[in-house]
């Protein structure tokens, strides 16, 4: 082990599945950005931020309107009702977006090569009492040439036991982990870049 990798060693409580998952999530995100050359897209976060701040703006506007106008007026009640409804709608939309669209996605990004643009969406999950890291890898390839055949997409799933990547002290073997990630990426690319 070099001093550099020692300083960055990731150590977790290996009996805690959530810790293991989040350590792997962080490691795979870093791998995709620094070594695999993907540029992270914050699409999901940004959409939720916009919805959330719009809801808060509606709430603030409605509250201010109620503050400067007497409550008894029908207009005040109407606009208060509208702002309350919009605020809760934004909450529901944010929750809905997380559960239905974002799901377990931990990374979205893309990289541009001379051949075209490769988009990736990576989801991860663990099941209770099951020490396996489940990866859900989606890739979309948009070729540089304009022909319709240049668009391809694929969806692959990989499940690996945490014991292949963590030693008995709970330290993540980054070289092994990254080698596996590289293998998964190459494997997925191969399924659609035939």
């Amino acid at each position: 082990m070099t001093s550099e990798s020692q300083a960055r060693a990731i150590k977790v409580d290996k009996s805690n599945l959530t810790d293991l998952k989040s350590a792997c999530d962080d490691a795979v995100k870093e791998y995709l950005e620094t070594k695999a050359g993907y540029r992270q897209s914050h699409k999901h976060t940004d959409i939720k931020l916009v919805i959330g701040y719009l809801g808060c703006a509606a709430a603030a506007a409605g509250s201010y309107y109620g503050y400067i106008h007497p409550f008894e007026l029908p207009a005040t009640k109407f606009w208060t009702f509208v702002s309350v409804a919009l605020y809760y709608l934004s909450n529901i939309l944010m929750m809905g977006y997380s559960y239905l669209v974002e799901k377990n996605t931990i990374f979205t990004g893309s990289k541009t090569t001379p051949k075209g643009t490769q988009t990736i969406a990576l989801g991860s999950s663990v099941k209770s009492y099951n020490p396996y890291y489940d990866l859900d890898l989606r890739m979309d390839f948009d070729g540089a040439s304009k022909s319709s055949k240049s668009k391809k997409s694929t969806h692959q799933q990989y499940s690996t036991a945490f014991r292949f990547w963590f030693d008995e002290d709970g330290v993540l073997a980054q070289d092994l982990f990254e080698a596996d990630m590289e293998k998964f990426l190459a494997n997925t690319e191969a399924t659609h870049l035939d």
Partner: protein
């Protein structure tokens, strides 16, 4: 922390505050009452209500009856009063009432209170427009907490800041 994380955490804090505030607004709309929760500050309604009791208010459409306990504001005075209605005169016109109130623990009715301000001289009654809400229920002593925080505002800011900081720094 980068900008996106700061915005996300700020949104969490905002949504925590607005979540409480908008629920209160929704409750206010449902009960047709701007402040559906008030805290008793005086002992004028002993033994029914003590200082620190929380009152639940609403404004039903039907006319106010004798014996009902109302929270009202005397024109020109900011602090609302909670007292019992002891007399009513209904005018033929819908929604017009003349009401007289008195604290259960006071020896006299509230006419002295109504006329305390020079601008209110000759005011013998209050009207439904002065009513903030009509008491529907109460929780004993739980409001002591808010009285305590009003007496020591620093405590309020410390509490609010503390909770905000925890939410902001929580990932």
């Amino acid at each position: 922390m980068n900008l996106r994380q700061i915005l996300t955490n700020s949104l969490n804090v905002l949504m925590m505050l607005f979540g409480v505030f908008m629920s209160y607004k929704a409750w206010g709309l449902y009960t047709n009452c701007e402040s559906p929760l008030v805290v008793v500050l005086s002992e004028s309604m002993e033994p029914a209500f003590a200082r620190g009791d929380i009152l639940f208010l609403s404004n039903p459409r039907k006319a106010i009856d004798i014996g009902e306990i109302c929270v009202f504001k005397i024109p020109g005075r900011e602090i609302p009063i909670v007292h019992r209605v002891i007399d009513r005169h209904d005018t033929p016109k819908e929604g017009k009432q003349l009401l007289l109130t008195k604290g259960d623990n006071n020896n006299v009715d509230d006419r002295g209170l109504y006329q305390e301000l020079y601008t209110n001289r000759g005011m013998m009654w209050i009207e439904p427009k002065d009513i903030v809400g009509r008491v529907q229920g109460f929780l004993p002593y739980l409001g002591m907490f808010t009285i305590f925080m009003t007496d020591y505002p620093l405590l309020k800011y410390a509490l609010l800041g503390g909770v905000g900081l925890i939410v902001f720094l929580y990932e």
